[in-house]
Symmetry: C3
Subunit: 316 residues, 3 copies
């Protein structure tokens, strides 16, 4: 998309030369050819590491944009990013692409739907009423049970099992809200990447990234009815027990265990080998590995047990 | 259905003239031609505003029924209402109706199922394995992702997005239980109405009303794995974050925000612009607008934070 | 499967005579011809009641195995059981079986998928995009709404209603983890049995048993978005409210009521007519019938209410 068209959509002045913008990205991840935005002064420091070719800024932050990057000055960069996200959204399905390529030994139910541009490896089993969207890639020996939906651009490894009625790659929950309280959708133009040997239960929701990827690393185990927000990274062999949830952009180290009905807030980092008891509510990053936590507000498991007994004594 | 047949099913005496009963409804909402019931003395006051043509009552409440309304006296009006609800249930699918009418530019997957009596507007996208039940109505530009189920009689507006594996209009959770603990289903003969510009995530359950409608007003945003009980009304631009739930017959004002894993009990009213932090448990109506709450039991967010620090001090 | 092959897979010495092992089972439930395992010294007492023909044991527990039972000595019986479980897993679909047998008056959508070996009774309604796996058995008058998945070997009674997007019989959440934190799947070779007059909401996950059956007894009522772990038994007329969950191997007596967003830990027994308020967290068995509980940690409902008022006073 041409930067002049972008400037026109968001109402920014732009007198520079033509420049092709391929996609949008977060400030710190943006590469050459990408457009980013700054919606919060605390991210100003990310400008230094950004390789974005253009940034949506407001009057207060425009001064931080270096000379080799275009500053598009607008009055509400976050809302303007939301408006622009629609322009970068791919087609829901793209039938101009080639028909799916399927490896030897793979069985696909005639009642499954495999979109164009898909590549599936060997010896997979794709059962009835599965949907695999445009340009998905699936490895070898993977089993996908009925009524599961894999949205476009998802990448799934080998030796995975995905149980029924699960949604991989639906839109993350993103919108910009104006002063009257009306919402504008932020199109979620990233994807989901699931590495090898991952098992996912039934009725699970793993949202696609707004930019980049939501990622489940090798060996992850996900029980039923679990929420994984956009842009999360689940470390190798992490275990999420039923009805737990993780908000957006949180990263788990390897072998993190999240107990049933637990939750982790967004934008946190959890050290490897951390365990959370059932119903934990995690609102801060965990830096030390190997500890066990409980409760909401969260604390280490042993003092939590002690605290519960102190609380019970209030009755006496 | 004839009132004499109704009296016969529930074992009530009726010597009056023939009267056609079209449907059942709650006491305060019932119109002429409808049958209602009174199962709890606290609703006696609703008789005054009811336009019901007939009411199932017991010996104690029959005296409150005015002369222009038929009192059908039974020993357990709630159970008798449950038994009768089956008689008013429409067919699950009704192939006697005309085939669906579909607007220009709308794409429907050959692997979707569109029942009879459906009307779909222009430029919609209905993906594989979607089910749209008898007599549903859908506006323009709406996208319904794979494996989503829209039960019969649902009405969905324009510019909506409904993600995959979501259930719109399944039966609300209603039954009458006898003294031995056995349950009798209350057929849920209402519907779901979703207004324009609503986005709903994956694996969401929005139940149809027992009578009347469950309603999502314009601009509502619903994340994943969320429960909306029968007869709820979600005000314009309300936001429900992942894994939250609302029990039956609760009304949210506009721009209410319900945090992740929060819950609101049934039959409550929440003032506009109320926010609930994650894990809130709401058991009382909120009358003042614009406040933020947390915790279970619920309190305002600031004292809740203070209380948590007081509780933590019990450990010392 | 021949015991010599089993010994070879797990690396156990075996010099005895040939013995056919039909399946695996828990120690206390194992019958002649079955293989079991002991992974925890506290289950040593179950050896006395076990009828297993062979048991995976380690050096410390081998001495408890009686003479009429084969002791296969390995260094990690639980992991070896996991490895062996794959050998006993049936085909995901078995097209060698006869085509489904369907009773009179049953309507099956052409867009449903009914696997081989299935038997369905009279006057059922099976809607579009339903999947009924190999060798399932369904009674009379049962309704299964769209996009619901019934995994192979499930048994469902008469007069049941199963709402849309529900998963019956997906794998329970089971794996063995080695010292490096890598997981090995425990194949879930049991099934789900649902008795007559059961209603199940939308987006529900009821996992198949690892051995034996997960069982929902007559008259159970399950709301939406609920987790029932492998090997649970839900007593007659029990009621599970939305977003509640039960971990594996827990048994509810009849007419247990589990409030919204509540949870019960695994391996517990709950007395009949027990009620749990919303958000209860149950970690111990309940032996006395007819009581009402609340909170996490759990206590009786009345002291819980009192305790909440004591806690609130900490603010003063």
């Amino acid at each position: 998309m041409n930067i002049k068209d972008i400037a026109s959509i968001v109402g920014a002045a732009y007198g520079g030369e033509d420049l092709e913008i391929t996609s949008m990205n977060a400030l710190k991840d943006a590469k050459e050819g990408q457009l980013s935005f700054i919606s919060n002064a605390k991210y100003v420091k990310d400008i230094a590491i950004s390789q974005a070719s253009a940034i949506l800024v407001d009057e207060k932050t425009k001064e931080y944009v270096p000379d080799n990057c275009v500053a598009l000055v607008v009055d509400n960069p976050y809302m303007k990013m939301a408006i622009l996200s629609k322009s970068f959204a791919p087609l829901i399905e793209d039938s101009r692409l080639d028909k799916a390529i399927v490896g030897e030994g793979t069985r696909i139910s005639p009642k499954a739907e495999i979109a164009h541009g898909v590549r599936i490896g060997k010896n997979c089993t794709i059962l009835a009423h599965v949907y695999i969207g445009t340009s998905c890639v699936i490895g070898d020996n993977t089993v996908i049970y009925p009524n599961t939906t894999i949205y476009r651009d998802s990448i799934i490894g080998s030796d995975c099992v995905i149980h029924s009625n699960t949604a991989i790659g639906a839109d993350g929950f993103g919108f910009a809200t104006n002063a009257s309280g009306e919402h504008t959708k932020i199109y979620q133009n990233g994807n989901v990447v699931i590495e090898d040997d991952v098992e996912i239960g039934s009725n699970v929701s793993i949202d696609r990234a707004v930019f980049g990827s939501t990622r489940l690393q090798k060996g992850v185990r996900i029980d039923n009815l679990i929420q994984v927000g956009h842009n999360c990274v689940l470390g190798e062999y992490s275990v999420l027990v039923a009805q737990s949830g993780i908000a957006g952009s949180t990263t788990l180290g390897r072998n993190v265990v999240l107990g049933g009905q637990s939750a982790i807030a967004g934008h946190l980092t959890i050290a490897p080998f951390t365990s959370f008891a059932a119903r934990s509510g995690v609102t801060k990053s965990i830096k030390e590995s190997g500890l066990t936590f409980a409760g909401f507000p969260l604390m280490e498991h042993k003092p939590w047990l002690k605290l519960q007994s102190k609380i019970a004594k209030l009755l006496k």
